[in-house]
Symmetry: C2
């Protein structure tokens, strides 16, 4: 075992830690349940999952909207403060909340946790006596009502505000404001203007006088490292790398972890930062599947890496044809050296030859005839697979899986891609995720659950860091637009999306039929539509031939070795586009965030336009960052039209009286360097064979 | 003090109870917060307010939908049971939940609490091994796969089901079913059919074998008496009853509680069951308002009953011109004898002459010049009113208000109409409502908060039993249809609606302009659109003249005595209609429920059609009850068109192959006795001057 530390890691060594099914540190803080309603009521706080039963998702460095419904009796003004608390309970930051839905009393502020950990937040509502006085005094002095009284009451309230713990200069400013209200050499209106100067207002905005302070409950927030949100994944079957046909035997010869390591510079050069390995374990021979998912394997068929387990070992072993743990460690080291982390597949099922079957037959389902149950979807059976029965020995299976995962963590794996988590009990996953969150918070778990919304949301809620999504099946402008908003604003509390145009299991009709342009535009949409995206190897070569009647690749790599000629990537494939997309993603923090998306109307039903905007105060560079994507979804036809920019959404003040021709912004296309001077409704024209999309940096 | 007991009351005598700000019994039970996810996950349980911070609303005798998102891993079947718990924690009833949103895993069951109290409920999810076996076995035996094995496994699972605690006959039925699976004299398919007979399935539906039982948290449900949901209110200013102009002085002479009591038979004859009194307390003279809300009262002007308090007393006193507590008790007794309860206005504010002003100046706001602050909405001031300042002495004010309310409860008031609760702190109301809920759960509080949604919802959430609503301003077909669904299905967890076409403060343009037809159709909509409706006296006389420029009555009864000639009610007014509506409401439990509403499409944008349907198992009579309302919203013009009935919503199976002419149901109009034979899309024609609406009982 020899490799460097993973980036952003806080690894703890080895397996010394005892089995702690529910580490106390992983539990969210208890809320003030059943509190009486506050003096200033705060309800419907967000982001909150099931009232804090599980922590909402947050990421170090990503701004997070904290919102609540806050209101009060009568006419007096209120204020509300969002307060972000570090894992130790100390206040990290706070911000005055603003009304984002006038008439509905919905207030919001954005705060940014800056390190991973078990953070929390609350909302503090309060009565605003200074604001109330300013409002009433301005109206009444203008109307000549209670003039002296209002000035006198202003002096009282400003003095109260001054008496808070404040820097001396601030206190002096407020006391001077109080004093000027009594200055009878000035007209009352003038006294008001001076006492409520911009300096005074801005000071009180920063540090207001807060009466009747009414805090909400404190809600949990799990802050993960940035890789949980932002990453560029590249999936490989390591045995295919360097595979070749033996000229003597005529048989294909498997690649190894060493040949896979030799392919890493190519992947890194494309800009990917996670290399994801399909399972590397020994493969069963009993009922092994043949090419194209046929029932009988021919001699020499390598079998599916998802048919895990043979006499050579199970989930904690490496297929001998791939190499040894030394080779694995070498692979991890090489990836790290190239700035990449390694993700490993976790497919919790066994071939009939898995050591667990003989060592722990009780971990499987025994049928009435004494046989072990195959996986099935009646009347179909999958005779190469025994599913685990988690109810038979939950402790034993949990302990074994924990040890398996720990083995790979100890060998440098920092991300797990979990195969079909929705076919295993959620309480099992909750335990795994809670345990690893406590001991290895740097390890990221990606849920491969292409299933119904409730399951997908709840897998995220109980701790999966990332989720495969419906992006793969969202094709039309309306579908894609709605989905971008859904993942950014509706499900973001529960799930972080990963956008994959294809996987080794999925090749949609759009991808089968749309040629290189379809592969290009879906790459653009995935790479800019979600902070995490991924491709399955061969994408750069536009491999798009389906197995007849199926929505997956013909000659699926799951069942055979697939030698690829990557010398064609650059000339016949779309490698240059992929590289440019990843370069843009690295250069633009706006593309590394989830919640900052906005749609822009276009005049073509085939042209989708959206932007990601990061204001300077939310940007790690301290500078505003904005990327606008304009994509032609029709892979066959040139499409043109106008884009009606939502300028407010990208932080641009609309020039007053600007005509349609007036220059508003300068943009540069990250894909081809072209620069455009745009008005508020620019014309675009996108030809699939030349330029399927714009990915535009706003230069201002 | 002499009167009979209030109906449905559990009154406790007098004020002996100590001041218990947060009676433990009023607190909802603690949930299993931060429980691990269950083996079969249950999330998004409803009806729940803020995860159980406050109890959801329920009513004795009203069926309640309990729903949750329930799902599981893999392909095995699950079941879920909604369980309703009595205040002592024992199980009252339970029901198998059904999928109401296929693909979204949303399950629901309806249960009916049958008595007031602090009930609760939970959802139990479970694995369904029998259902899983039936599904798999049917598919596999049909396909000839694992036939003997599936039969053998069926015997095992049915035997397990038999071994639950069951009646002997049920156990025998299941054991016989298990045995028949082994009967080799029968073909396998025949064995399946016999083992899974309707009797067996129905038994297992009633009492299933439930593996991996996974309960949700237990959530609170406040069950109130039926009057909290269903009532017909009639509002009076008692001083106007029997008021007359003295022929000698030329001055109006006030009516009394005795003259008001004489008017009660008329109100009862109209079918109302709650008589609501505007404030009956002494009225201040300082800055008293004159007629039509003018600033200077003329001699003889009686002042607004909302300007409460004089040297003769405050909120716990009776205006001497109205009479004495004996007269009040007489009024209550008379009402009770006529089957009516008495509601009293609670307007927590003081005239400058209120005893509180001198006894407790600290309960008001003292300004910088030492004066007490008037009510104001800057720059306007209301110099006849001092608002209470609840923050100055919360304990003192709470204690005084509690005593005031107790006084009226002791004198037989069973409902309070709370004036402008949204101008007082919510924590004050929460305390009042929690306290009275514990000591006088029969007392109903109606919130008169015509304000923003968050405030209205939260007032309901913290314990107001009923709420005035936006009905008064919903006029168009779309507005009314949306609103009927909103109050029945969206806000029902928080609020019970009261529909008022007008109040003494509100006369909308529709009511000003639409004549008797407007008053008629709005009465129909209020009386059938909400289980609680109310009218302000004079409605039966179609009093519709506004004060110029205002949306309220001219010569508003708040500021003067108003003698009415009720001999005209029947001939020139709409009293007969009001009587028929209340008769129909008493006869039809479907009109006494909130959640049972459905809309029906019509071909006219002026004709609104909706129904209230109560299946037999939700009906107190044990018989199905259905009322269909078809209303012409245009008070000036005859409108006609087709009503496309949603037959499923009214419990009618659509006849197969039925043409548009086929007879589907017989209906009788409760307003004029006409009987119609209807197909699925009946033609209706409504002439405002003759018949503004149908209120149709379905006879089948």
């Amino acid at each position: 075992m020899s490799h460097t530390q993973p980036p952003e890691s806080t690894r703890t060594p080895g397996r010394a830690a005892p089995l702690t099914p529910w580490p106390a540190s992983a539990r969210p803080p208890a809320p003030a349940a059943f509190a009486p309603v506050g003096r200033i009521p705060v309800v419907e706080v967000a982001p909150v999952i099931e009232d804090g039963r599980w922590p909402a998702k947050a990421t170090a460095g990503e701004a997070l909207p904290i919102s609540a419904t806050v209101f009060r009796e009568g006419h007096d003004l209120l204020g509300a403060t969002a307060v972000l608390l570090r894992p130790d309970g100390s206040v990290h930051s706070s911000a005055r909340m603003v009304d984002v839905a006038p008439g509905l009393d919905r207030l919001e502020a954005w705060l940014t946790p800056d390190a991973p950990g078990d953070w929390s937040f609350r909302v503090e509502a309060w009565s605003d006596p200074v604001g109330t006085w300013i409002h009433d005094a301005e109206v009444k002095i203008e109307a000549g009502v209670d003039v002296d009284l209002m000035l006198a009451e202003g002096a009282v309230v400003l003095t109260r505000a001054a008496e808070l713990e404040r820097p001396a200069a601030d206190r002096d400013l407020l006391l001077a404001a109080a004093a000027v209200l009594a200055d009878e050499t000035l007209a009352p209106g003038e006294r008001m203007v001076r006492a409520t100067s911009e300096d005074v207002r801005s000071l009180l905005e920063r540090a207001p006088l807060r009466d009747a302070l009414s805090p909400s409950a404190t809600y949990p927030l799990q802050v993960d490292r940035l890789k949980a949100l932002y990453g560029s994944w590249y999936e490989i079957f390591p045995r295919s790398t360097g595979a070749y046909r033996d000229p003597v035997t005529g048989q294909m010869v498997s690649g190894t972890l060493r040949t896979a390591a030799e392919d890493l510079p190519r992947i890194a050069d494309l800009g990917f930062d996670v290399v994801y390995l399909t399972p590397v374990h020994p493969i069963g021979t009993t009922n092994r599947k043949g090419r194209n998912n046929t029932l009988g394997a021919e001699p020499g068929d390598p079998g599916s890496p998802y048919g895990i387990g043979s006499p050579e070992g199970g989930h904690d072993a490496i297929h001998p044809e791939l190499g040894t743990f030394d080779d694995f460690d070498h692979f991890v080291d090489r990836a790290r050296g190239l700035g990449m982390e390694v993700a490993l597949d976790v497919a919790l099922q066994a071939s009939p030859d898995h050591p667990w079957v003989t060592e722990h037959p009780e971990w499987f389902t025994t049928r009435a005839d004494g046989s072990i149950a195959f996986a099935e979807n009646p009347p179909k059976k999958y005779q190469d697979i025994y599913p685990l029965n988690f109810d038979n020995d939950p402790e034993g299976i949990y302990s074994a899986v924990r040890d398996v995962l720990q083995t790979w963590v100890d060998h440098g794996v920092t991300l797990f891609r979990v195969d079909n988590p929705h076919t295993k009990p959620l309480d099992f996953w909750h335990r795994v995720l809670t345990d690893f969150h406590a001991r290895h918070p740097e390890v990221v778990f990606l849920a491969e659950a292409f299933t119904r919304p409730a399951m997908m949301r709840t897998l995220g809620a109980i701790g999966f860091h990332q989720s495969y999504t419906y992006f793969t099946w969202r094709n039309t402008k309306e579908e894609l637009g709605d989905y971008l908003l859904e993942v950014a604003h509706e499900t973001d509390t529960h799930m972080r999306p990963a956008f994959w145009p294809t996987t080794h299991d999925i090749l949609t009709p759009y991808m089968q039929q749309g040629g290189a342009a379809a592969f290009a535009v879906r790459a653009v949409l995935a790479a800019t539509g979600s902070p995490t995206w991924g491709i399955y190897s061969g994408y750069e070569l536009v491999e798009n031939v389906p197995r007849p009647g199926a929505e997956e690749q013909v000659d699926n790599e799951k069942y055979e070795l697939k030698a690829r000629d990557h010398s064609q990537d650059e000339v016949r494939g779309i490698a240059p586009l992929l590289r440019k997309l990843n370069v843009a993603r690295r250069a633009h923090p706006a593309l590394q965030r989830l919640r900052n998306v906005a749609l822009h109307a276009t005049t073509s039903d085939q042209i989708l336009a959206f932007s990601r905007h990061l204001p300077a105060d939310q940007s790690p560079t301290g500078h505003e960052d904005t990327v606008i994507v304009v994509a032609n979804l029709d892979p066959f036809t040139t499409r043109d039209g106008l884009v009606h920019l939502d300028l407010a959404a990208i932080g641009i003040d609309v020039p007053t009286g600007a005509g349609p021709e007036q220059h508003v912004l300068t943009v540069r296309d990250e894909l081809d360097g072209a620069v455009y001077e745009w008005g508020a409704s620019p014309y675009v024209r996108l030809t699939p064979s030349e330029r399927t999309a714009h990915v535009l940096t706003v230069l201002r």
